[in-house]
Symmetry: C2
Subunit: 511 residues, 2 copies
């Protein structure tokens, strides 16, 4: 390799480093590689049969929502009080008859729309943390400025394919109007798809209305533009809040994820097989309900299942059992024929240290190899989702980029086979200068924007900087370099006017 | 869960923490889970065909070893100078006719003997670093005391199944006699199997002789007690040093790994497919030679292939391409029908930070899911194998323990299905107190001995300790708690006498 080429590589690298990772900006990943299979068909059939037994014998509770109980009664389920029991196969048949195997969630920038399901995967930031963390400021309550910062970073990071939902809780904004600022931020500061509010039906409706202002009234009614998660309160309960949002989104033909939130051992049995049976029962009932409300509405099988420490009760992440549950649930979703949504770079660590990285890499890579279609919490998680980390975000995004590169699979073209290069070079020589290398080296290997591969001496001379400190430098530079994606001024004004009107309606007391 | 049970869990945990990880002390892993398949049969056949083309058209060089050239000539290969070319299928047939699919390497403690090949996997420490690193002392040249320390830690760590070879280079001992101290340390301070010296034939012979003192002369001649790696000097060269050791071990029926050492892009083409074809050609020729020297001798397919940065020339680790090469090579080894040896927790990081953990976790988990039988460099690597890390060793071992737990697969017993627990608890309640949880919680989930899952407040109150600092505390405590495994005093004296005699023979000038 000539010095000239090395320098040119350096310029390209610096350009890519300003983007945050060296991955190309793709809307989503079309997988060129297969999935890892943990349980065989016999084992999966056993879990499925147990889930049907649970639905038939124990049933699910749908709390404080008479309308939903009426829907189930009309569909022929056995409703007693708030407890609903189902004949074996009933929920499965409703889902398989109506739910799409794959669908497109539209972004306001059509180039960033995502395919959800099938052989596609995408990485989405963490959801829900009330705190943020960075090395300089430490851990503190999140603000709207933090929410905006993260949304800007996710806009720039090429291996993060979604703007997410509550990327952190902006606690400096009053709860009743907080969702308006979050929705606006997603729509204004990022051009990727995003998630809708689920904490109340009227907030879900605000999400739909604001999306309509940007994407068009008819377009939103006819296409999936929002993606929202309804958590099952494991074991076996769906409450009025989650049901309320679920109904709004389903009726508007927007994607609903039914995702049991399980700390295994506390909210499910202390075994992988028991947890799987329970969560599959919960998902079957939830997805069937979506199809009863609006047949054909995009509906996604979700899981969040992490074991607790049986010594202290604390949730644990990146564990062998958590990965086992995820591998099996992904296979159950494929057999059911719906897209699968599950967790990525989770960690219990409070800081961007090696624990955070080990746990995150294990679970993120497992999610990818499991074939998870929508990988939530792929970036930023600290402290078991109580904290969104700035350094952690760009650190995780770098690994997402590596997995995105892995997803292309092995190139078997004649160029990639490189027999001519082998003939040219021969035994005992090196390939650096050969014609094949000169032709391919710029695109050959994934290039991390954070890993330090320098010699010990050079690394020491440059200050012996640890990974988290390189990450701190990167995200700060990215925020300086950020440019707002373009938006029609009239649309922006309409959004702001809608928010002003709603703030007035909601008032101080809240809706 | 009662307070009493929690306390009892706490005691068990402390006991396990003193061991270094919470994994049980197993001699090796019997995999209850399958492997991840990256290339299909058609793709693998293409690589195999290209390897045969390389062997036929380009050939391999066997340098400075007329005896080996004579062996090849007798076997019918085309020998011109030091270049040897092979008819398609010749090497493959020699291997498949003679080499065992699986074999046992005997340890001096029979309970720690390992099965290599088939559905078995094991974790082995890093090999070769001239430096060591710990947080307090920083990076420095390794000494015999360091070598002894690491051997003690590996003896104690239950998810490290092998004592390794040059776990670090004890540079305070003269090169000509250094191997004697290393062999003695493995035999005396650890009861697990270990690797033999390969840097000269007479050092290989010393390894065989010292093993015979401990395990018995006849036993060593009749059983595999040593395991040694001969690196191919990629591309396509085996030199006299590696050939010399290879011949000694093969003639004594001890296991030989033929492992091309490849920095892809420099020592192989800059593509995954090209690198795979080359390394498979190298392995075929090397393993066939072993079978010509002693038909039936245990012979292992090894790889060490990491891409270099095409911008700086530095080796990189835990990369998507490195993982792709490993997944495919593992499949090639299974099709060939020999055990597979490859890399684990490699990193270019100089310190036990998040880069070290991300890169190590990605490659280690990939190695495990690829079905690598002998996972070398599973613990301790820093700085691309230039440094052996104390903190890194116990950090990696914790992840080895998690993968060992994962390897058991999903328990589908009636107890694990937990239908009774689900019936007992019902919707909206928790499982902590139920009979099933009481019966199973102690063995339910893998317990990391390093991860901190406490609340932010508790973690802060206890000093806000980062992962690497917990690791520093752990390895120091382990060395304090270390107890030498028992050895017959006469055997120990015989070893020391052999070393004294050999030191005299070798003298100051060296052998």
């Amino acid at each position: 390799m000539s010095a000239k080429r090395t320098r040119s590589g350096g310029r390209a690298q610096r350009r890519q480093e300003r983007q945050g990772t060296a991955a190309p900006r793709l809307p989503y990943i079309q997988r060129g590689v297969g999935t890892y299979r943990l349980l065989d068909d016999e084992g999966l059939s056993l879990i499925e049969a147990n889930a049907e037994t649970i639905l038939k014998e124990i049933g699910m509770e749908f709390r404080d929502d008479p309308e939903v109980l009426e829907i189930w009664r009309d569909a022929g389920a056995d409703v007693q009080g708030e407890r609903v029991r189902f004949e074996p196969g009933m929920c499965r048949a409703l889902i398989q008859k109506n739910a799409p195997r794959q669908f497109r969630q539209h972004a306001r920038n059509p180039e960033m729309s995502v395919e959800i399901g099938g052989d596609n995967s995408l990485f989405c930031p963490s959801f829900g943390p009330p705190f943020v963390h960075d090395l300089e400021g430490g851990r503190r309550y999140a603000t709207l400025e933090d929410f905006r910062n993260f949304t800007k970073l996710h806009h720039m990071l090429p291996s993060v394919h979604h703007s997410g939902g509550v990327v952190c809780e902006p606690v400096d904004v009053a709860v009743p109007v907080r969702h308006l600022d979050m929705i606006y931020t997603h729509l204004r500061y990022n051009d990727k798809p995003f998630m809708g509010a689920v904490t109340a039906p009227e907030r879900a409706l605000d999400t739909v209305n604001m999306a309509k202002i940007v994407l068009g009234e008819d377009f939103v009614e006819e296409n999936c533009c929002l993606y929202s998660v309804s958590n099952v309160n494991a074991p076996l309960v769906l409450d009025a809040t989650m049901l309320g949002a679920l109904k709004v989104y389903a009726r508007h033909n927007q994607a609903v994820v039914v995702s049991p939130f399980i700390l295994a051992g506390a909210m499910s049995p202390v075994t992988v097989a028991g947890t799987l049976s329970q969560l599959f029962a919960e998902v079957l009932a939830g997805l069937a309900l979506v199809q009863l409300i609006r047949p054909g509405a995009p509906a996604v099988f979700g899981t969040f299942a992490s074991p607790i420490s049986m010594q202290t009760g604390a949730p644990t992440f990146g564990t062998p059992e958590g990965m086992q549950i995820q591998f099996c649930a992904a296979a159950l979703a494929r057999r059911l024929g719906v897209p699968f949504h599950s967790v990525g770079a989770l960690t219990a660590s409070k800081v961007p240290d090696a624990q955070a990285a080990y746990e995150s890499a294990m679970q993120l890579q497992a999610a990818f190899l499991a074939g998870v279609n929508f990988i939530i919490h792929a970036t930023g998680c600290l402290e078991g989702l109580l904290t969104m980390g700035y350094e952690k975000t760009v650190m995780d995004a770098d690994i997402c980029g590596a997995l995105q590169a892995f997803s292309k699979g092995v190139d078997l073209s004649e160029n990639a086979q490189a027999l001519d290069a082998l003939r040219e070079v021969g035994p005992g020589n090196h390939f650096l200068g050969c014609e094949h290398t000169q032709r391919n080296f710029e695109t050959a290997f994934y290039r991390s924007s954070l890993a330090d591969n320098k010699s010990f001496e050079q690394w020491s001379d440059e200050g012996a900087v640890w990974h988290q400190d390189r990450a701190a430098k990167l995200w700060r530079q990215m925020l300086k370099d950020y440019e707002k994606p373009p938006m029609d001024e009239a649309v922006d004004e309409a959004l702001l006017a809608y928010m002003a009107k709603r703030r007035e309606e909601i008032g101080e007391g809240g809706a």
